[in-house]
């Protein structure tokens, strides 16, 4: 009815342990109308979305995937604070039908905080094929809240779930009081602590019993809150109760409490879950044994990753298939592969756009800035989009199939030698495509220090932009030598990555051994829908982060290449601000025997490459007036040793601006970003001179 008053909004917080299928279900619930932002002040993502149902507007907030509310990680603290703040009318807790006992734990913890809970059992479409049968009503009766089986993949149970959420929000279903778990022999302590706590102001906002239990388990965050309101005595009293418990039971209180909670959980779940053997587990365990084998595991994983990358590289640039075909005496086929690579098509597209802009816009400032700055600059980023999508696609397949954590575990022993854990595999792999998503993926690493070391060293991993430059520079060398220099560049890059990581690790006081604790979800055939979502999310991310920065910078670059230091339009790039700056740096190239024109042109190209690595090629051709990088290099008369030295330098020197921006965003430290530049510059410079000396000798 038109006159009806405003639509009722119901706020729903969604929580679940990692891997329960939260992202998938969230996408289905919100129809993928998801708004992504960061939680205030931190780089943990916050997803929000809406859904209309029976005349209400449901507002879903996706809380980080967590195992519990101990607040021992940033994610746990964020999720917990959100629920405690009372911002949600209903908390939707997701439980994995394939691991109900373990994933219900979070539901119990939520119920201890608030009664307004709906529980959804995810992946119910495949529970039976895994031999798991769950009596949902029995669990609902015991807990007093709705328990709904759903499948995001088959879109089953979604309506029922939405109905249940509305019923709980409007008080027609659900419990009135938070759940009281019987902690048995610990109960006297809990009651005593509850009495103390209920006198504090904190207990006016939060359930006293919950605070009491948490404090007995040891909770720095809550202790801090109590201290701040001056309830130091309560904190002290509970501390001595903790010591009492430990002395009497000879076990840490937090272990006792989790144990009691799990015992309570089993008493509810065990009668409601029936398992039959299906053979799925046996097969999956054989694969797990293979991946954890000290030799077979790393070999298998490396082969999988190598296969992915050779495929992506070939589709993207034609390399290395083109050179192999060439060497095999099929130059025609090699050329075909090169011309039909994605990169070549995109470059043509960007050129066509520039021509179109030149033809359609009236001559003047606007045309110059659009055709000379914005299109080439933004185009340079867009050229990488298909690549990002390709890499993201293959990694999404590995992730969705459940192979990703197995690859991480198999490479853990090798990676620990350089001070990082198996969690670093995916940041490294992504970096081979583009460093930006690589650095962003380092977030998932549990150790904060490892995360910083990775952010600082991942830019050494040659991304595809650098591959393009390396290929162009190497093309000045003929045939197999060109291929060798490319391989050499990759080997040097990985050695430097490993070496610098090791050094940074050794420099740390109180080094902690890299450790690994990973859940291995059941292996399964990837779902097209999930793979597509993961891929698309990665692409969107890249566009948003890199796009905005590059847009502004391409204007800046255009400016310093088109204007003279006197701020009048430059007749040729040789008179530009950039060239003037390059001349200042040119003497630095003297150790590899470059001087005069070749020195400043090279310095100019490298300077431009700071913005986006692939721009090195354009800068070389602009400054020399030659059509290709190979000819530009030949026209400068560079020798093989110089080409080799420059290839190494290009591979290792400063991260591009987009990567630098992400390093800053992820670490929130200008110092770390600047140190990264300094480290990379000095390592690149020394390696360049070494490479030159080496190649001059042989």
């Amino acid at each position: 009815m038109a006159g009806e008053n405003e639509e009722r909004v119901i706020h729903v917080a969604v929580v679940g342990q990692p891997n329960v299928g939260k992202s998938t279900l969230f996408n289905v619930l919100t129809g993928r109308n998801v708004h992504v932002a960061n939680w205030p002040g931190v780089t943990v993502e916050k997803h929000e979305g809406y859904r209309r149902h029976r005349g209400r507007l449901l507002h879903f907030v996706d809380l980080p995937g967590i195992y519990g509310f101990s607040a021992s990680t940033l994610e746990e603290l964020i999720a917990r604070n959100y629920i405690l703040s009372g911002g949600a009318d209903v908390v939707l807790v997701l439980v994995d039908s394939l691991a109900p006992e373990r994933t219900m734990y979070l539901a119990l913890q939520t119920l201890e905080i608030t009664p307004r809970v709906v529980i959804a059992f995810t992946k119910s479409d495949i529970a039976h094929s895994h031999g798991i049968h769950i009596h949902h009503d029995a669990i609902a009766r015991r807990l007093g809240v709705p328990v709904i089986p759903v499948s995001a993949v088959k879109e089953m149970g979604i309506e029922e779930l939405l109905d249940a959420i509305i019923d709980v929000a409007e008080g027609r279903a659900g419990r009135r009081e938070p759940l009281r778990i019987d902690y048995r022999e610990l109960e006297p302590y809990v009651r005593e602590a509850e009495k103390l706590v209920s006198k504090t102001r904190l207990a006016e906002r939060l359930p006293a019993r919950w605070i009491a239990v948490r404090l007995l388990e040891g909770d720095d965050n809550l202790e801090e809150l109590l201290r701040r309101e001056g309830a130091e005595d309560v904190v002290k009293a509970i501390h001595s109760m903790r010591i009492d418990i430990e002395n009497i039971f000879r076990t840490r209180p937090e272990e006792l409490f989790s144990r009691k909670r799990f015992q309570y959980l089993y008493s509810i779940v065990s009668p409601a879950v029936v398992r039959v053997e299906t053979g799925v587990r046996e097969r999956s365990e054989r694969i797990d044994r293979l991946f954890s084998h000290p030799v077979a595991g790393p070999v298998l994983s490396t082969m999988i990753l190598l296969a992915v990358f050779l495929t992506v590289f070939t589709i993207n640039t034609g390399f290395p298939l083109n050179i192999l075909l060439h060497e095999a005496g099929m130059p025609g086929a090699a050329e075909w592969v090169e011309e039909h690579s994605l990169g070549a098509y995109l470059e043509e597209g960007v050129d066509a756009l520039i021509d179109a802009a030149n033809a359609s816009l009236p001559e003047g400032f606007i045309r110059d800035i659009v055709a000379g700055g914005i299109i080439p600059g933004v185009g340079a980023v867009l050229i990488f989009l298909p690549l990002i999508i390709l890499v993201a696609f293959f990694l999404a397949v590995l992730e969705d199939a459940g192979l990703a954590p197995r690859i991480a575990l198999s490479l853990h022993p090798i990676l620990s030698r350089i001070g990082v854990s198996g969690h670093a595999v995916f940041p490294i792999t992504l970096s081979l495509g583009c460093n930006v998503p690589g650095v962003m993926a380092a977030r998932a690493t549990p150790s904060a220090r490892e995360r910083i070391r990775l952010a600082m060293t991942l830019p050494f991993i040659p991304c595809q932009a650098r591959l393009v430059v390396i290929l162009a520079v190497a093309s000045a060398l003929r045939g197999i030598e060109g291929l060798l220099i490319v391989i050499l560049a990759y080997i040097v890059a990985f050695l430097v990555f490993a070496g610098v990581n090791k050094i940074l690790y050794m420099l740390e006081e109180e080094r902690e051994e890299p450790e690994l604790l990973l859940e291995l979800p059941p292996l399964h055939r990837p779902s097209a829908k999930v793979v597509w979502w993961l891929t698309w999310d990665a692409a969107k991310h890249f566009l948003a982060k890199a796009g905005s920065i590059i847009f502004l910078l391409s204007i800046l670059i255009w400016f310093i290449v088109s204007y003279t230091p006197g701020l009048s339009p430059a007749a040729s790039p040789r008179d530009s601000i950039a060239a003037a700056v390059a001349r200042v740096f040119a003497p630095l190239l003297a150790p590899i025997g470059l001087e005069g024109d070749p020195a400043w042109i090279t310095a100019f190209a490298l300077l431009i490459g700071f913005v986006a690595k692939e721009a090195v090629i354009g800068a070389l051709t602009i400054a020399t007036g030659k059509p290709s990088a190979a000819e530009a290099i030949r026209s400068m008369g560079l020798g093989d040793a110089q080409v080799a030295a420059l290839t190494i330098f290009t591979t290792l020197y400063v991260p591009c601006l987009a990567t630098l921006a992400v390093i800053y965003q992820e670490t929130r430290s200008l110092k770390i970003a600047l140190t990264t530049i300094a480290v990379m510059m000095s390592v690149a410079y020394v390696s360049m001179i070494l490479a030159y000396l080496l190649f001059t000798i042989i």
Partner: protein, 75 residues
């Protein structure tokens, strides 16, 4: 005879007695249901590298350093 988790051969089942791993890892293990008193079964243990164990229908990979600090009673 109590021993540590990393010393168990594949296929062996044991009851967890105590977890001495550093706080962050201990918390995570407790939350995943690897509490004292619970049963775990070793899926893979090659003597080096992470070991794989399963409990209550989930499988996890545990770094050897952490596994060495989990005291268990083999059954």
């Amino acid at each position: 005879m109590p021993t540590t988790l990393d010393a168990l051969p594949p296929g062996k089942t044991a009851r967890i007695i105590r977890i001495d791993a550093p706080g962050r890892w201990r918390n995570r293990l407790l939350q995943m249901g690897f509490t004292p008193g619970s049963l775990v079964r070793v899926v893979a243990n090659h003597g080096v590298g992470p070991i794989i164990v399963s409990s209550m229908g989930i499988t996890i990979a545990i770094g050897r350093g952490i596994a060495r600090r989990i005291l268990v009673e083999p059954l």
